[in-house]
Symmetry: none
Subunit: 294 residues, 2 copies
DNA sequence: CTTTTCATGAAAGGATTCTTTCATTATTTG
DNA sequence: CAAATAATGAAAGAATCCTTTCATGAAAAG
């Protein structure tokens, strides 16, 4: 688990792997065997105990115990303690920003999580499905956007910004009147250019989302889902599911990654015809300017 | 390692966090507390045992044991087994580092910008003014949140999430009816506990923001502003201005940093009294669950 | 070849961790 | 308000894990 930014190798205390590496050559036969095993399965050590390592490495429990002692760890507990601090250290180093060292540890962890989440989000744009999603949204006759509870705002902003970039985008809420209009529109099924529904959703809150998803498909609409990493229902309705990790250790889950996904979607759609998009944006700026003067 | 996409999260076996998430709302008090702790420290669970979790979560060992069983794990061992298979499925990893080379240069640049923006945002929480802002929001009698145009959704979500964590939060829009109610309330000026207004704003669009800011101050309300890096007007109305950089080279400016600022604000307020926040969250989970069944 | 040193695991002990049982307390229901 | 139900932790028991001790055998030294 590396950080997004290159992590700084602490000069003084070596990591677990290095320590083993350093002495593996001068160990007695069985201990070396165990050491070797640990090196090869270093990521797995946190899930193990002395006995299991002994078994898998083909040595006795005592040997593992002795080896750990020789490596300078206070037993399995000590090794895990070490692994943990290693993970904590390795997780953040922000481009030499020493200042961040003073950050509250919880926040530091959260920041690291957010950074990873963003990387994950951007990575998803390389997936062929992303391109398909963008094409879907771009080519759709009309686009409906919805979102619930704590991410409803994300969905609303998405619809607003998407509307800057293409025609016939609207936000709709299952509880508002618009649902009627939306449902009643039956001939959409057979239209040449299909409609597209974008659902922004986070798992704990939405029972509505799966329902809407099903309805959308049944009405012959394409479906794009932006959701968090916990989502399990979306896959079965469409392949166009994209995840913005939301757990970051804070009390409230993060909407940053989802927001980024939404931003990227808008940008990608705009990019399909940059000239048009820019023209629209400019016109819009002009309008708001006029409105603002009032 | 693996792709960022989990190949196909089997519908049947949910991840650990999901399982917890799924039932946290309907758990008894202490078990919920433990569950909450596990969610917030999920990355740390592999290093822990039942006793340590119990201690840190403030419950008894037995409670942890029971919770695990209720979640469907065969004790701590079972949970770790689950965590391991989850990791094997690649749901946690992120090492897209190399992969990112294939990213469209424009997006790469944008990603870099977003990362920096987030670091900047988190850095601002170390500023004494941040603490003051948090105190202001926490201590205010009522909190009004507003935002315009393309960040209105951010503001709405902020108000919703803030409302999960403290009383008397409401979103208001200058163009809606609520403004009247808000303006007419003159005696607020002399109240012992002041009201607080949070404005979420990005520069190109809002003429309204400075106006509202002025009105707020004149009405004796505290003012907190979350804005982008281009903002020039806010400083003169309040010192509690925080910036979420929004220019990232994409066609549409980013709302990610602003979103993060909003998230952090909510978390900080919640953190002022975690017990209360947790209780509120839990109650809310329960309610939405009930609503969802409808 | 003998002695010394070292490596190793079996066995037992001790420590830790998990679970079961049960009495107390809180919550819900009638 | 009373009865029933659920939640909770203390205590004890069971299981697991780690270490200590010691006997055995192998390698190294003399």
């Amino acid at each position: 688990m590396k950080s997004v930014f290159s992590s700084h190798p602490d000069v003084e205390d070596l990591g677990v792997a290095e320590r083993i590496q350093a002495i593996v050559g001068e160990l007695p036969r069985q201990e070396a065997r165990v050491a070797q095993y640990m090196l090869l399965n270093i990521d797995d050590l946190v899930f193990q105990n002395g006995a299991s390592i002994a078994r898998k490495a083909g040595a006795s429990e005592v040997t593992v115990s002795r080896l750990l002692r020789r490596l300078g760890f206070r037993g399995m507990a000590g090794l895990k303690r070490e692994l943990r601090t290693q993970r904590d250290e390795g997780s953040i180093d922000m481009s030499g920003d020493r200042e961040l060292d003073k950050l509250d540890p919880a926040l530091k962890h959260a920041l690291d999580g957010e950074l990873r989440a963003l990387v994950s989000v951007f990575s998803q744009t390389m997936d062929p499905r992303w391109t398909r999603a963008v094409r879907t949204v771009t080519g759709a006759q009309r686009v409906f956007v919805t979102g619930f509870q704590s991410v409803r705002g994300v969905a609303e902003d998405l619809s607003r910004r998407l509307a800057l970039v293409r025609d016939d985008v609207r936000f709709f809420s299952a509880h508002d009147g618009m649902l009627g209009e939306w449902v009643g529109d039956v001939e959409a099924r057979s239209a040449k250019r299909k409609d597209c529904v974008i659902i922004v959703d986070v798992v704990p809150y939405a029972q509505e989302a799966p329902l809407l998803a099903r309805m959308s498909r049944e009405a012959g609409r394409q479906l794009v889902v932006l959701t968090d990493e916990l989502c399990h229902w979306a896959q079965s309705h469409t392949e166009l599911v994209f995840h913005g990790p939301s757990r970051n250790g804070l009390i409230i889950e993060s909407t940053v990654a989802l927001t980024s996904l939404a931003n990227l979607l808008v940008d990608a759609v705009a990019r399909r015809d940059p000239a048009v998009a820019e023209r629209r944006m400019r016109r819009w700026h002009k309008i708001t300017r006029k409105l603002n003067v009032f």
